[in-house]
Symmetry: C2
Subunit: 248 residues, 2 copies
């Protein structure tokens, strides 16, 4: 039975896609079979793993999901590609609670051969993120160490609580991941301390540093673990992977 | 008659809010009366200007918009605050083409005393962004000099074309703003050259550098022009302001 994890935060550009890709890659390197599902119409997780976006989103194509899964350059790591079609984005966002429970059925039955499924969510609290939370056992919330970061945190946490109460009793907050941390910036230290002060154990110990090699890796269709294995960013995602496995 | 400009890009964290705030501040410093409208449920533009989010979004409150306008610490710069209520976000996103034309009426008639209105859009191609494009004379598209940046550009440009053809014949692409540019990063140079190669004159000459003082300003409720007037980031937004005024 796969462990389904949503990577979500309506604040944009906080490292959702980067965390979904590199954590899934870390889990695959640790011998687990990992799948990244791209439900963001931008398809960054798809292209970041060197795969072409699908013409029709697999969740709308009416075929068994397993048939749409694409292998990546890394053994043990696969991706269910997104679709850039504006029409698909509209169809997926128009979904409702029926779709959320259908998604949970589909993921549970058709993709159960994977150990971990990471769902990369778009930067919004709309139906796609809600359906994804409805289908997940946990939600990971990446947060950038910047001023605007704290603002939206209460909203995504509130949405996770609502989803747990209404649709999916199993949903837990898996953890908050501090990303793009630059120890030389006072603001980064202030935000990191504030988040830890507020959310305590819910914050992963591992902090992801700002590292340009992380932002270069997707242009090669690789995770940073394959693109620059000795980089600080790669080592941090390996550490985060070990923390995730420990928590299980 | 106000010039209404949407600041939009479905890619998250590219500097939409930062550009809406600092460009509006620049226009106010140049003697124009400027208003920032916050239609993003995260309310970053509202808090970034030191103002409390509204309990009810002014677009849903049923009062004349002018009554909800709040002055900021800077003369000539005001904000129509957003609302963090998830219910308002749903109500606004459920809007449709009627709402877009109603918004155009309301903005045209109730807020005509301003010279410039900048609408800060959420990171999505949903109804809020569509309604905002439907009400605007121009759209400014901030783009971060990073790999994922180019991916989504064709989508927002396609949406602007659709809006122009269906709802709002006046809509033009006002310009693409290169943000968070770090000249030492090869990736940044590659992306900047690619964007200029592709979009030529549509790209503003002014490039906004990565500058930590820009990301610190909102925690003081100030634009970077007031927080750190001699900073590279502040000077760049002043240059961008002059370019915007020249284009008019
Ligand atoms: N630790 C890091 N160091 C440096 N750059 C990073 C880091 N993490 C992410 N980035 C870069 O920052 C940008 C934003 O990250 P990413 O696209 O993963 O965020 P996101 O939350 O998925 O964005 P969106 O809200 O648009 O989905 C990307 O260009 C990415 O390469
Ligand atoms: N030129 C810059 N230099 C340094 N930091 C910047 C710059 N521009 C923006 N930032 C910071 O980067 C983060 C993202 O910027 P901002 O919030 O304006 O993007 P956005 O596109 O509005 O995000 P969203 O998609 O969530 O609405 C913020 O923390 C902001 O302070
Ligand atoms: Mg993403
Ligand atoms: Mg914003």
């Amino acid at each position: 039975m796969a462990k389904i994890i949503s990577v979500a935060n309506q604040k944009g550009g906080v490292g959702k896609t980067t965390t979904a890709i590199n954590l899934a890659a870390g889990l695959a390197k640790a011998g687990r079979s990992a799948l990244v599902i791209d439900v963001d119409p931008q398809c960054n997780a798809t292209s970041g793993l060197g795969v072409e976006p699908a013409k029709r989103h697999p969740l709308l194509a009416g075929k068994p999901l397993a048939e749409s899964v694409v292998a990546t350059a890394q053994p043990g790591l696969s991706v269910l590609p997104g679709s850039q079609s504006l029409a698909d984005a509209d169809a997926l966002s128009a979904s409702n609670r029926q779709r959320a429970s259908a998604l949970r059925q589909q993921l549970g039955s058709e993709l159960s051969t994977f150990d971990y499924i990471m769902i990369d969510c778009p930067p919004s609290l709309g139906q796609l993120t809600r359906a994804s939370l409805g289908a997940s056992a946990e939600v990971y919330i990446p947060i950038q160490c910047e001023y605007f970061a704290m603002e939206g945190l209460s909203q995504i946490i509130e949405l996770a609580r609502q989803t747990k109460a209404r649709d999916n009793r199993r949903l837990e907050i898996g953890g908050i991941v501090l990303t793009m941390y630059d120890p030389d910036l006072e603001l980064a230290n202030e935000v990191a301390n504030e988040v830890r002060g507020f959310f305590d154990d819910a914050v992963f110990d591992t902090v992801i540093p700002r590292d340009v090699l992380i932002s270069e890796a997707p242009s090669h269709g690789l995770s940073v673990l394959d693109y620059a294995p000795r980089a600080r960013g790669a080592r941090a995602y390996v550490e985060l992977t070990l923390e995730v496995i420990d928590r299980d």
